[in-house]
Subunit: 140 residues, 3 copies
């Protein structure tokens, strides 16, 4: 059994949902030495999230953005914590609904995901900048 | 410390929320050899999810279905990714809200869950078929 | 590689969102011996949840409470499972949206969280009482 942890910085992304599987994998080449394990991928922010979803059709990511804007409306008359603008509190709420980490099974040196599964960065701020991710891999 | 991983196939379930704790446990008898650990249960799909919730009263699962249909409405005029029908994009959204995996503490060869906690398969598609699950257990 | 698991009881909290990072840390002094690892923090209930979010401004926690009350309305005419009152079924739903556990990276004997991240107890019941938490730490 072994463990390693790595902090990586994502390139800045515009508000919306972004497929980052390749960007994450490129920074953890050590994965190829793990036969069976789990990878915990954690985002160190409270206004962006991580989730798994469909990795092929960009319209899925656009629908995520429009649905979450309806479900968590930027109505500052309903919210108290709005100092940094109308996308401030809604980003906190969206990130907790979607979650701040994903845990992914590893098998034979690779993510053991479904064919259509990829990692999404859920960028809820209008200008979120570069986001920090911590990847912890535990396995044999 | 040891680790094992197993892929299992669930029997097909109709759209809705289903208690699958027993179906999962039956396929991982190795659990009884783990004194302290965690079990990561992952679904390899983007249109169904996994969560933990109340394991006794079937009305809880029915209310989950009706609430999520209201909260994520099948209104194709609002969504772009609808090629496979009105339950296509909403299934992607619901699965990310509920999550694609649950991590469960293990103690003394058993899931260390609360009395009322069970694993739910959240089947969001009208015809989702058999779903593939990957269970990874790490422990002593 | 080592593992340990501990069950802790939180002091009873009123309905709402509560920062519990310190209360959890105080009960796992063993963390200081872990150089690299993960901590899985699990709540053994189906009407309260755990999430990570902003650890500084109490207005964030108040906005969480008001948003979730709008998003999951206590409208008993729409729900079947209401035997324990209007906060019964909505608590089950909210807890699955927010999640029943958080997994936190550990580095150098401490939680490797972002500057602004803390653990929230999401108490959805009007009178939830003391909540049981299971912390499992795996690391080197």
């Amino acid at each position: 059994m072994k463990i390693f942890q790595k902090q990586i910085s994502l390139t800045p992304k515009p508000r919306g949902f972004h497929l980052i599987t390749r960007e994450v994998l490129d920074q953890i080449p050590e994965l190829s030495d793990v036969s069976t394990g789990i990878a915990h991928v954690h985002i160190k922010h409270t206004s962006a999230g991580l989730t798994l979803n469909e990795n092929a059709d960009p319209s899925v990511r656009r629908d995520f953005e429009s649905h979450f804007n309806r479900m968590v409306p930027e109505d500052t008359s309903l919210l108290e914590h709005t100092l940094e603008g109308p996308d401030d509190m809604t980003s906190h709420i969206k990130s907790s609904i979607l979650g701040h980490s994903v845990t992914i099974p590893i098998f034979s040196g690779q993510f053991n995901l479904g064919t259509w599964q990829g990692i999404y960065l859920c960028e809820h701020r209008n200008r979120g900048g570069s986001r920090k991710i911590v990847v912890t891999v535990i396995g044999s």
